[in-house]
């Protein structure tokens, strides 16, 4: 059976204005709306489309996090994933440990493709997919804006700083999804009902035997420095005058 594994991370919703806690110990997450990381949603959509084209048989969504991440996995199941795995931990997990845990799941599931978002919008690390592929000794096609599975290879168009790069990678492979890979589908109510019956396995993080690497401590969280309040001008003349005033034109 050809499987695609998709990573879903529970993150503070895209539209929330994130605030730093006054004691500098983190950001406010109490009572804040949580969602699937938008890039992971794109990853899942792509997996579903590959399955719908007949190039895969099963889509499995996996999340590493607290029991609350079941909500995001259920949403993934409602979008169309066949089953879900929650690697459960109450602790925050560093990226290397996260990649090592995913590798354990990969070894158990033996997928042809792992698709994850190119970055999570909370820590903005942009690391997990590349780390997983490296530990797995398989290719990672990062920042994918288009992909085509052709037999044992995938052709991937990547969004890079100077334009679009196309690479070819052998399966199995890791793909990290960029914004323009697709537009994720909306979840319909009957699908939400159906998703409740789909299997969701819970595996304690500790059971995976992940050995953590050296830890980087996050010692202080601060709000960014604010820009000073600017001026409003009434017309183009005013704008040009203001620019000249600052010596910019």
């Amino acid at each position: 059976m050809k499987k695609i594994l998709v990573g879903l991370k529970r993150v503070v919703d895209y539209n929330v204005r994130v605030r730093v806690k006054s004691d500098g110990s983190g950001v406010e997450t109490d009572g804040v709306k949580m969602s699937i990381n938008p890039f992971d949603e794109i990853a899942l959509e792509e997996a579903l489309r590959i399955k719908e084209k007949g190039a895969a048989d099963e889509v499995v969504v996996v999340s590493i996090g607290s029991a609350d991440s079941q909500q995001q996995l259920r949403t993934g199941l409602a979008m169309g994933a066949d089953r879900a795995i929650l690697v459960e931990t109450g602790e925050s997990v560093d990226t290397l440990s996260c990649a090592r845990a995913l590798l354990e799941i990969v070894n158990r599931e033996d997928p042809i493709l792992v698709i994850v978002g190119k970055q999570a919008i909370d820590d903005d690390n942009i690391q997990t997919g590349q780390m997983l592929a490296t530990l797995w000794n398989r290719p990672a096609a990062s920042f994918a804006s288009q992909l085509e599975v052709d037999g044992d290879t995938v052709r991937v168009v990547r969004e890079v700083d100077i334009g679009l790069e196309t690479i070819e990678v052998d399966l199995p492979a890791v793909i990290t999804a960029d914004l323009r890979l697709n537009e994720p589908r909306y979840v319909k109510l009957p699908d939400i009902m159906k998703a409740k019956k789909k299997p969701l396995d819970q595996i304690p993080f500790a059971d995976l035997g992940v050995v953590a690497g050296p830890q980087i401590k996050q010692v202080l969280f601060e709000p960014p420095s604010e820009r000073e309040k600017g001026i409003m001008v009434d017309d183009v003349q005013g704008l040009v005058a203001a620019l000249k005033d600052k010596g910019l034109v």
């Binding site: 503070v12 895209y14 994130v18 730093v20 950001v27 990226t95 290397l96 190119k118 919008i121 820590d123 903005d124 690390n125 942009i126 690391q127 997990t128 590349q130 780390m131 997983l132 490296t134 530990l135 398989r138 290719p139 990672a140 890079v160 700083d161 100077i162 334009g163 679009l164 790069e165 196309t166 690479i167 070819e168 052998d170 960029d178 914004l179 690497g213 050296p214 830890q215 980087i216 401590k217 996050q218 010692v219 202080l220 969280f221 601060e222 709000p223 960014p224 820009r227 600017g230 001026i231 409003m232 001008v233 017309d235 183009v236 005013g238 704008l239 040009v240 620019l243 600052k246 910019l248």
Partner: protein
């Protein structure tokens, strides 16, 4: 003492401007000895350029036909083969560095620090998270190599009056064949580079079409400015992806940034907050872009832009 290995990004002939900024960051670490490594098919031209950067102790070149196109999977094992004895391994926070450095970290069995924006100590750095809504201070352990990318917009390019020695080195490691370069479609290069231009003009969805985006190009030509866009304008197909500014696109720090018809979502603002002066032109006076703008003008861009191009 810190021994820093810095991975050079280049296109085979020219050093990427992010390298001089990454060196500037590395040079802020006390008693840093900075080696820059150039992986290429033929490295001499790029190596000479790298050797000119101030604070660089040595330039190492690894010449191999497999290094013709920068593939992270191919470069990572070579970086690791050279890593012994280095306390820090730095790359630029460009798509090149973002793709490569996590692979290096994984092979070394360490975590990676992304987007260093300031150096607080040899193992202590600040970086933005949540699209810049918070800044976190990270403390890396002293007994493991620090693998990191450097946020170019936070640094000014280091000077270029050096002439460091260039040494050719071998990397006798097996390289994977599972990843192959096919082709690169580079955007037009006749305009100033978005990430190094001292002036940048960007358009948003309000431009309404690819054709009307010409209004932005006309003004940019007048000012010798680079041209960027909001995510919405790229998604709408008005301009190609390499012009996107923001959390998931490019982070820029020009002296002058003019946002036209861009509402200013937090994801866009994180890409421009290091600009010297921000000018916003938008018909919606409530647009969040005005909260960060140094100079704001409310009005219809279709009348303002021709007038502005005329007046400058």
């Amino acid at each position: 003492m810190a021994r820093i290995l810095l991975i050079a990004e280049h296109d085979g002939t020219t050093l990427n401007p992010s390298v001089a900024k990454t060196v500037a960051c590395a040079a802020e670490i006390d008693a840093a000895e900075i080696d820059v490594v150039v992986f290429a098919e033929s490295a001499s031209q790029v190596a000479t350029e790298a050797a000119g950067l101030d604070s660089v102790l040595r330039v190492l070149t690894v010449e191999n036909a497999a290094n013709k196109h920068p593939l992270g999977a191919v470069l990572a094992p070579q970086v690791v083969a050279l890593a012994d004895g280095y306390s820090h391994i730095f790359g630029p926070s460009t798509t090149f560095g973002k793709d490569l450095m996590p692979r290096v970290a994984a092979l070394l069995g360490v975590n990676q620090i992304s987007d260093i924006m300031s150096v607080e100590g040899s193992h202590t750095f600040k970086r933005p998270i949540y699209a810049g809504s918070a800044i976190v201070t990270m403390e890396a352990p002293a007994d493991a190599p620090v693998v990191a990318t450097v946020r170019s917009a936070s640094y000014r390019a280091i000077g270029g009056s050096n002439s460091a020695p260039v040494e050719s080195v071998e990397c006798a490691v097996e390289l994977p064949a599972h990843t192959r370069f096919v082709d690169l479609q580079a955007g037009s290069s006749d305009r100033p580079d978005l990430q190094t231009a001292s002036r940048v003009i960007a358009g948003g969805r309000a431009l309404g079409s690819e054709e009307d985006f010409d209004l932005i190009y006309t003004l940019a030509e007048k000012l010798g400015a680079g041209v960027g866009a909001s995510r919405a304008a790229v998604d709408a197909g008005y301009v190609p992806n390499e012009m996107q500014i923001g959390q998931t696109g490019k982070i820029i720090a020009p002296d002058l940034y003019i946002a036209i018809g861009i509402s200013g979502a937090i994801q866009h603002l994180t890409g421009i907050k290091d600009a010297g002066t921000i000018v916003a032109i938008n018909k919606d006076e409530e647009a969040p872009i005005f909260e960060v703008a140094d100079i704001g003008l409310v009005g219809d861009l279709f009348t303002i832009l021709p007038e502005l191009s005329e007046a400058l």
